[in-house]
Symmetry: C4
């Protein structure tokens, strides 16, 4: 079958509806996925369901726009189909989906959402299970994922009193760009899993609230779609996974610069995408049991191969010597995203980077990597000692992400020397539970929290949030309780206080 | 409608019983609250219930006496009503209230209450839900609120033996005033939420037990009512929220001094009153669902605006330079309430204050503020080092509040240098569960605990409670367990000890 | 009514069967307890049940033998009764007691009891509720009580290998007396609560296993009964509560010496007996509700007064200057029981004591007192530094008690410098669950554990258990977790591992 | 009955089918076990079930091959039986076994097993209860057993970025032998409990994956069977329990050397095999209740005697002076297995050992022994300081075992100086749940984890895994939470976030 100019008819496509010959339609194009069936990360079953049919609706939320063209060899791209000749796929609503719709209807009004935790609680209830699994999952035992949040709990405030805090102002400057808060929306993949508008929800809310969005390489919306959705003058950053093929990378980077991106965040903590077991287990349920048994019995582990396929374009060979090249192809400030020790932060500084993001990729890569906020403390100490730098610093900026849920978390990072903090999942949960209004509300809540807590802390502006305002002396303390003595504890009778009498 | 001398009739008022025109009667006065409906912190529904009627009974426990006059512009004060012409509001008893009354009847006798925890346990069962929510709620994730109690658990005793402890005496002197215990009843708002007599319960018990009450600015009873309820010679302190209008503050302060107040505690940790989410959620339930939906859909967040309204008189501009002025208008000893680091304690000393209360407002303001008892340790160390002070100190007294439940908590604070400790919520719970006898009993229990524990500690009087009697070396330790390894733990089979055989 | 030589008749006694005139018979003697009713710690109801009758059976297990004679003025001792004329009290078996008997029958055979925890588990099930409450309760929030056990978990072993451990010997010498283990049975009150033979169970087992029993002042059996039950040559110590009347104390001490007691342990941590709230709550249930209401309503707190009455003979005036007097009245080695800091241990040494027991009274006195094992570390350090002593030391011996459940606990204490360790509750639970065979088995288990663990540790005898064999560097660490973030945690979805499929 | 050459008949044997005279057949030989009945660790009941019959099927999985010949005096070995004359034992399938078979059928396919935890989860469900109890049990309160895993959680990564990690290689050299991973399969007893092929499952998987198996002395398969199952050139180590009879030991060692063993690991942490209470309790259930009662009533504790019998051949007299002798009888590298402090590691080095395994025997011997990974830190520090050694070190190699579940655990040990890590239980669980494919899959998972995590860590080979890549500063921290304040906590009302509304 050749990839000619002639549009195929729906009928032609419909004939290839089996494991032996399986064509599908995505965005008006026809693809032959017969050989790809066993390599599909989501299992073959879900593809076979759309064999010979239009799979766009199912495909869209869970794939980057170019996933299919990237993973399929050119000769499997069969060209356009005349959509008017394609039969509509009838969507059957399952009981599970019906229950989910009922849960959506039972959401509390947005006015009752008081903090970022609340969005997550509702999102867990109303999102598709798969989408929730993808967003929330993390590496191995998810220790680092939770440590990211827990680390903030080892930092306590030392507030100052009797300062005139009638006016408090938490706006700042990030890489020379104005931001109304010391935080930005960090890059996260597959935004359409949570809402049909995907990353555009974030773009619009960022515009409204005067903060900066970092556009992800693996967005569900295309880069240009997102750029087009921006307001005139709206500042955006771009997160880059570096492709093995540097020409592609060059093209992407220069296109980004041309479109006005103000900072390029090169991800350096993901030479290979992490295994997220919760996400993987989720996929098993989607498999045809007979397929699974086969996989089990013949010992072939398809899930591994597939996971690799998706991230196969990312270059594990990327190294320090590549940075010079980056400087040669763009004038955008370059920031390394995923630095996790002071030695690499120092190297980044010496190499002329504009900054680093101290991050462990939301706990999705190396488990037992330390939290960004903990690394921040050692980076500030060592760069002061070895290069005489003080932070926040205009010329070399420190960013932190992971585990942020409250404005106080952000304030802690700023006090310790961060220019700004990246927030990711909470905004995904915000629009997954309440659509665009959710993100708007999330940012309103953060603003309210900033105002309140800067007053209570006695800091009238970002400069006044100083290291002396926090006690981070416990930040490096990783305590694990001695295992419990179950026999002793089961013998101990818990104290019982006063109780109401049962009726006499 | 003019605010003339003529008393309105009940019938006139009753005509204004709708959202379009809504009048209510409080303490014999008529108010036009039509425009205020949407700004009411408790929601409009509860006001509309009393539209055209006498709302005094509902109003009283949950508002400071002057809340309505302060929040409503003078032209909405419509003057007196002839109460004989007003129809009595019939109170319908809900099922919920009936259940609560049954719980009240099932309280154990007061003789079975053994400690301060017990009052809280019973109060939780017998209080109105809203009242419980208001008293018990705290800021954000309520971490600081619980840390206040937990911090005492990091301090352990080093008791001395073989001292003749036939007589032990825990009386002391606070700001030059005798107190039978090294503790005082600290200021808390809205005392009538728990009992119709509100703060008077505390005044009377304080008199009986020879301790000092700190009268709150936001009391449910008026300041003069409370002063009038005092015994001759009874010592009282006054807690002050500083008003933006300094004339009002001056009037309040000088009136307090004239009435015999012996110490003025200026609150410095609340330029803005904290968001207490438990309390806020409680309010949603009181809303008319239709109102809520509206609020949700139009994106207007009334709860925020309302919360601000209440605390709007508090001056966020209050600062160190104001203290001179305070010294010019009163001779009362001035104490700053809400100091949270040694730097500010030092400043307070240098500014000529009589002392500071190391406090985080019961965890109701800035979450992750450290506990007063922890701050005490750094204050004592630094004021010794930098000003050569030793504590307790007559000229500059240190107070602590937050988290106290046992006399041993108080003793720990005294050992570390505090002159006295403030106790708030436990006394509210005491009268909310058992009325005035509850507070009396609470103080009796504390006296029993003091006697017992001073003997066991080997301290015959307050002077003998010395720093060497406690080990506070862990006080700055804020440990957060490494997140649990759920897979490992779910595989571990807990040891099972000897068990009774099931019948053979 | 005079206390003449004539024996009263059962009929005479039976007439005084009311609250107005209440006589009871105990051990063949008649007592007028009318005025004592309201002061009885167990409440008046239980006495009134036996008004005019023989209360011996109920009295015996829960009182020291002389409780009634001590608490009642001589004119209330009405003399003997002719027991043949007294009607037998018919014992009704309650449903509760029937259930307890069934549980006793369902005990696993003693051969299945593997460790000291197991006795406690069974005792909890088969003891009278009151008895369990009395034995297991501790002061205030029972923090110290549990810390006693927990502290051992902060000490870890550093075992040595490749030593010939064919023969291991854990016998030692305590105050110059041979003991087959480095532990002794420490003094605990009211032994008959758990078994009719009370302390005699311990005397016999101690003889069989070659260890030393410390006889308590508040034993259920009389001192002489216990001494008489000893084997010829069996070594025993005596624990002393010092009476306000020093003549009584002198008589007791000299009698003990005459009967062959080899060490006098003077309790110094109990100038007043602690409030144990679990025990107190237990008593409420035994009260007549009408009595309770009365107590509650008239505000009189009888429980307090009664608790004081019991311990009223103990002298809170006891002090260091008394120790000279003790040395003048006896040649027995004097040991202070209840020392809790190095300063007092040093003082005891300087005063010529033979040793100290580092103890907090099983957590029953001052809550937040540190564990004996923790205090041991500071005592050894400071007495070495300040007096050049090394431990274990023949001339000044250190003992520890509290929280011991395993031979490894004892070994830890010995490694850190203790001569021996006191074990109390576990032996009470052993005979409360299985009678005398229980204590025998408990000691057999300990012997097995000693043999095993000394081999595994590489110590062939007590001298080889050296400080280098333990890591106690965490002993002073009192960690309290930062309060949990409930919202975050309720959002976190615990990882779920592989599971069996439900049937297809 | 003489042990002549004549084969006995099945009928003859069948006559000895009672407690009075009890013969059994194992592997075609007849044994008189009458006198042994009461000493059998598994109780007499199970033997009596096979009295006069062929017990091979039941015997095999739960005994080392020579258990019966070792424990029974030669005169009780009655010679061969003519198997053709022996009646087949009919196996009755119990309900419990039927349920277990159903669980086996419900196992998820192997492709769904994602990590080593998963095998354990399934094994717990599908193994015989006894087998599970034997494999999983540990000493006393199993504190050390769990600490082994927990200790790894106190070590966190400091990953490096921007290294070209296209190729990562985690192969290494152990005692001069190639290994494809820095781990080996360590020795564990009674391999047939989990699968009929026992240790052979491990031998085959080791061959396939290029790693080394350590053959245990107490294997279910005979040493030669295991050696015979190896591939040509496959490297194996041998773990040795030293026999009291050194001639036996010499024979075993020299035979092992002759068969090609490349390293002799002498166990030094087990002069006596530990008491594992879970395992012991499991056995009670296998007892005839009447037997148990007898044991309980006559006070004889058979379980103890039996446990000793099994390990009676192990020489508790083994000591440092024996090592010279070992060097005289073999040229194999000698490694001490079970070293637990730096002093003994130093001694081992000075004595010319080739290395030590820092191990506490999987937590099965001395409870509160520290984890191997913790000991590693002190060993590396002290051997550097006192002997100038750096690690990993070719001449004196350090090994660690205990608690390993992830490749990251292994990497942590390697970073800290270990040459390789021993993994035991996880492989037993792998074949107990899925047979040989299970072990294969387990090793595949580990390889996947190594590849991923070395990339994420920035280490391209074993040499690049350096100490700076981990933060082990918390390794010696053994925290035990201060006991909880139950009354306070039961009063605290957990924060409740946003929730779905119940249907209106």
């Amino acid at each position: 079958m050749s990839n000619t100019g002639r549009a195929l008819s729906g009928k032609e496509v419909a004939e290839h509806n089996s494991r032996e010959s399986c064509w599908i339609i995505v965005h008006g194009k026809v693809y032959d996925v017969t050989d790809f069936l066993d390599d599909h990360p989501g299992g073959s079953k879900i593809i076979l369901k759309y064999a010979g049919k239009d799979a766009t609706r199912e495909y869209d939320p869970i794939h980057p726009p170019d996933a299919i063209t990237t993973n399929l060899k050119p000769d499997k791209h069969l060209g356009s189909v005349d959509l008017s000749t394609v039969e509509k796929v009838e969507v059957k609503i399952t009981d599970e989906e019906r229950a989910r719709q009922a849960r959506i209807a039972a959401r509390p009004p947005l006015s009752e959402i008081l903090n970022l935790h609340d969005f997550e609680a509702i999102a867990k209830d109303v999102m598709h299970e798969k989408a929730w699994a993808y967003y929330s999952s993390a590496a191995d035992d998810e220790i680092t994922n939770r440590e990211n949040h827990a680390a903030f709990h080892r930092i306590w405030f030392r507030p100052r009193i009797l300062r005139n805090v009638i006016k408090v102002d938490w706006s700042t400057t990030i890489l020379g760009q104005k931001s109304k808060m010391p935080l930005y929306i960090t890059a996260t993949a597959l935004g359409k899993l949570g809402h049909p508008d995907g990353e555009l929800n974030l773009t619009r809310a960022a515009a409204k609230h005067g903060i900066i969005q970092m556009i992800p390489t693996l967005a569900s919306c295309s880069f240009d779609e997102i750029m087009d959705a921006a307001e005139p003058g709206q500042v955006q950053f771009f997160q880059l996974y570096v492709n093995k093929d540097r020409e592609i990378t060059k093209r992407i980077v220069q296109h980004a610069e041309k479109r006005g991106i103000k900072g390029l965040f090169i991800t350096v903590d993901a030479p290979q995408l992490g295994r997220r077991e919760k996400d993987m287990r989720q996929k098993f349920d989607a498999e045809d049991p007979s397929e699974v048994s086969k996989a089990g019995s013949d010992g072939v582990d398809r899930s591994q191969g597939a996971a690799r396929a998706i991230s196969s374009f990312i270059d594990p060979g990327l190294n320090w010597s590549d940075l010079k090249w980056f400087k040669s192809i763009t004038k955008m400030p370059l920031i390394l995203k995923g630095v996790q020790c002071w030695e690499d932060a120092l190297e980044a500084y010496d190499t002329g980077m504009a900054g680093v993001v101290l991050s462990n990729h939301g706990g999705r890569q190396l488990d037992f990597a330390r939290s960004g906020i903990e690394v921040l403390v050692e980076v500030v100490t060592n760069l002061k000692e070895k290069r005489g730098l003080s932070f926040p610093n205009e010329r070399f900026q420190l960013f932190v992400d992971g585990g942020v849920r409250r404005a106080t978390d952000v304030i802690k990072a700023v006090a310790l020397g961060a220019t700004a903090v990246g927030v990711g999942r909470p905004f995904l949960y915000a629009y997954s539970s309440y659509g665009p209004e959710g993100v708007d509300k999330a940012l309103t809540i953060l603003n309210d929290e900033f105002e309140m807590n800067m007053r209570l802390l006695g800091a009238r502006n970002i400069e006044e949030i100083v290291p002396e305002m926090v006690d981070a002396s416990n930040i490096h303390l990783h305590t694990v309780a001695v295992p419990s003595d179950n026999l002793y504890e089961s013998n101990y009778e818990r104290l019982q206080g006063a109780r109401l009498r049962t009726k006499l």
